[in-house]
Amino acid sequence: MHALWKYIGKRLLWTLPTLLIVAVMVFFLVRMIPGDPAQLILGDSASPEELANLRASLGLDQPVPLQFLYWLGNVVRGDLGHSISNGAPVLPLMLDRFQVSATIVLVAVGLATLIAIPAGLIAAWRQNGHVDVAIVAASTLLMSVPSFWLGLILLLIFGLNLGWLPVVGFVPFSEKPWTAITYVILPIVTLMLIEVGVLTRMMRASAIEILRLEYVMHARAKGLSERKVLLRHVLPNAFAPTWTMIGLVLGGLLGGIAVLETVFTLPGLGRLLVDAIFARDYPVVQGCLLFTALIYVIVNLIVDLCYPLFDPRVTAS
């Protein structure tokens, strides 16, 4: 156990420079973008004095490096500051929004995995057969549909034409679980369909590799049925690369699914970030991106740590 903790510790230590670079990049990047929160708040009729006053009260009149150090100092103490737009503290705001994005992403990717595994296995097993061609064509097609496009179409069909599901809004699970589900079905399905394509192809490719190997033949030579061969011998070994892929996908998506959240008007992290960028809400942008980077790093760590579960040969690298 000792070595494991040391490993985790070392990995986390190495994330610090990454996070620092993200912090520096974020800070200076958002400030290089023209536009100014004070101006956005005051609108087209603002006078120069008004602007200067507001900027001063927001602390934006300080030199940027100084602002950075000040902010970094606060971050180290766990204070991410307050939103310029509405004064809400950034951390709770972010965590609140993250819950929404994370629920959708985790459920969607989870479902996608559940679909992709059998689909990929069957396609590989029936390689070049009709079933395989159908699965490959379908997954390629799903992969190549822009997510907002798919989202809008589903929204039109199920929300408007059929009227089965609500079109916009969000209800937290804590309030009305059933209603909450009806609100997140469409975004989850959209995201799931998009990810199913990628994961199925990945699963199929690695299962084909595995099916070529001797031990699969050996398993058959023992008299195992095809179902058992696939489930016991092919699946666990073919899953490792798909797992890496899932890690990459999760790491990327947990940072927010801005476009989907806009289409479905979900109060998620992605939209918070995009809105904050457009509103030049510096503390929120900085907080969100730092948070996203941390999530990415942690997801990667978890993925690496889980790897030996699927492939005992892999230990630390």
Partner: protein
């Protein structure tokens, strides 16, 4: 042979197998395997041995299928059984040990799970009972600490151990027929013998018949009763071992037998001379690959070895797998950092050599890799590969280079193959490419790391002959690494025996082979199977 049963256990009748695009792999092959006997299937690489074996279990790859003939197992045609029936036969009635032990076990399942799986499929047993049976069988195949073994994963075992585990897994079900496809190719002679002994012992206990596939005629002579010879998908000859091996009827069989390496007594002893290259108390340490759960361990692969090689001398290094042969060879080429000791080239210490001398040393000393395929860049043509070292020799213009390359290609017998890519060559041809590349610049010293152990007998012979010829023509000194004493006896002047990183014995070929002093050498020699007809 066997008059007790009227019908044999397995009877292959006029079997014809083709690829899906009609290319024939087996032509009208017929043979029998009688209950309780060991039958050998021999033939050079690609002759269809594996295909014939797999067909008997109906486990052919999709691209290949039987087109006519029948395979009768206990009188029933395997090819006509339903899927459910064939699954009952597989494992329970016919067991198979595959060619590659490294990849025949599922890396993601514990040994215990894999052993119990087959048992519980064919017999009604609880998990505990199955595991108990598995433990017992692991004991029989001499796996130390079988209890712990059940919970371990395949990658935690060496090749020889995995082969034994495979054997255990197959024998656990007490099949009536065991098909063993080259079960010992990747193993050193000692381990090879151990595995064979266990197999014979098991079959004897359970009365199992064995179809043994191999290219090692020594093994056949020692263990089989009957032998079947295949050549390019055709049955050439079949009969009792004594008849076929000692009085072969067919030319092809004779070629196979002749290819067995024989001691060459024609080599003249070399006059004593100062060594070209010498190792002085060389030690090599590997910081073993630690893993997430345990810290890295240091591993001493070569522990204080001193060895000199005279100009023009061939020194063979023999020893079991993992004894440090490759490590020593690479250390002498300066490819591995030494943890202590020194290498002297032309009496100059490499530890203190200047840059120019180091470069000269690098160019004068070459290596023929253990695995020819992976040492050839798959994207280069043969002529490019062979010609590449010329970029660093004395300046040659394009035409001179091409001429030199053509010359050496002829010399190694690859005429006309210069435009091919490595994957389009046979194993023996690839090995020759690797040798040509090593000698094109007329090096002073060549390390040849097991240049023939992956090849079948006929090709092995060709390569050994080539090697000797080149060595005589070019006169380079050589460190010839091998675990095969037969091969060594053909090319070497001197033999060095290594065990666990130490030289345990050395001397001329005659001294070592005829009067081995060290027990390890004696064991090695004893384990080498022969036809029993050697001079």
């Amino acid at each position: 042979m066997n008059a007790i049963t009227s019908s044999p256990l397995l009877a292959v009748r006029n079997l014809r197998v083709t690829t899906s695009n009609g290319f024939p792999i087996l032509h009208d092959v017929s043979f029998d395997v009688e209950a309780g006997s060991i039958v050998a299937l021999v033939g050079e690489s690609g002759s269809g041995k594996t295909v014939a074996a797999r067909a008997s279990m109906r486990l052919l790859p999709k691209a290949i299928r039987p087109t006519s003939g029948e395979i009768l197992f206990q009188g029933r045609d395997v090819l006509k059984m339903s899927d459910g029936e064939i699954r009952k036969v597989r494992g329970a009635e016919i067991g198979m040990v595959f060619q590659e032990p490294m990849v025949s076990l599922n890396p993601a399942m514990t040994i215990g799970a894999q052993l119990a799986e087959g048992l519980r499929l064919h017999e009604k047993l609880t998990v505990e009972e199955a595991l108990a049976r598995a433990t017992e069988m692991l004991e029989r195949v001499k796996i130390p600490n079988p209890q712990a073994c059940l919970a371990a994963y395949p990658h935690q075992f060496s090749g020889g151990m995995r082969q034994r585990i495979m054997l255990a897994s197959v024998m656990l079900l007490r099949p009536k027929l065991l098909i063993a496809d080259e079960p010992t190719t990747a193993l050193d002679t000692l381990t090879q013998r151990e595995v064979m002994e266990i197999m014979v012992d098991l079959t004897r206990t359970f009365g199992t018949a064995v179809l043994l596939i191999t290219h090692n005629l020594g093994l056949v002579a020692q263990y089989a009763k009957k032998v079947i010879v295949l050549e390019r998908g055709k049955l050439i000859e079949t009969g009792p071992v004594e008849d076929v091996l000692h009085r072969p009827q067919e030319q092809y069989t004779r070629t196979l037998i002749d290819a067995l390496p024989k001691r060459d007594y024609s080599r003249k002893p070399l006059a004593a001379a100062p060594p070209l290259i010498a190792a002085r108390n060389v030690e090599v340490t590997f910081s073993g690959a630690g893993n997430m759960f345990s810290a890295a361990e240091k591993k001493l692969a070569v522990r204080g070895v001193s060895l000199g090689v005279q100009p023009g001398e061939v020194v063979a290094v023999v020893g079991g797998s993992g004894s440090g042969k490759t490590t020593l060879g690479r250390a002498m080429l300066g490819l591995l950092p030494l943890s202590s000791g020194d290498i002297l080239f032309r009496d100059r210490s490499m530890a203190t050599a200047d840059k120019a001398f180091a470069r000269d040393y690098r160019l004068q000393c070459q290596l023929v890799f253990q695995d020819p395929y992976s040492s050839l860049d798959p994207r280069q043509k043969i002529s490019e590969i062979i010609g590449e070292p010329l970029a660093h020799g004395p300046k040659l213009n394009r035409a001179e280079k091409a001429e030199r390359v053509a010359e050496i290609i002829n010399e190694v017998g690859l005429t006309g193959l210069g435009d091919r890519f490595p994957h389009a060559l046979s194993g023996g041809q690839r090995q020759r490419v690797a040798i040509a590349r090593a000698v094109i610049r007329n090096p002073a010293f060549v390390v040849a790391d097991e240049p023939v152990s992956a090849l079948d007998m006929t090709i092995q012979k060709q390569v050994l002959d080539l090697f000797r010829r080149l060595q005589e023509n070019h006169g380079f000194a050589c460190l010839f690494i091998s675990h095969d004493l037969g091969a060594v006896s053909r090319v070497a002047d001197r033999i060095v025996v290594m065990e666990q990183g130490l030289i345990v014995e050395q001397g001329t070929v005659g001294e070592v082979l005829d009067h081995p002093q060290h027990p390890y050498t004696q064991a090695l020699l004893k384990a080498t199977p022969t036809l029993g007809i050697a001079a």
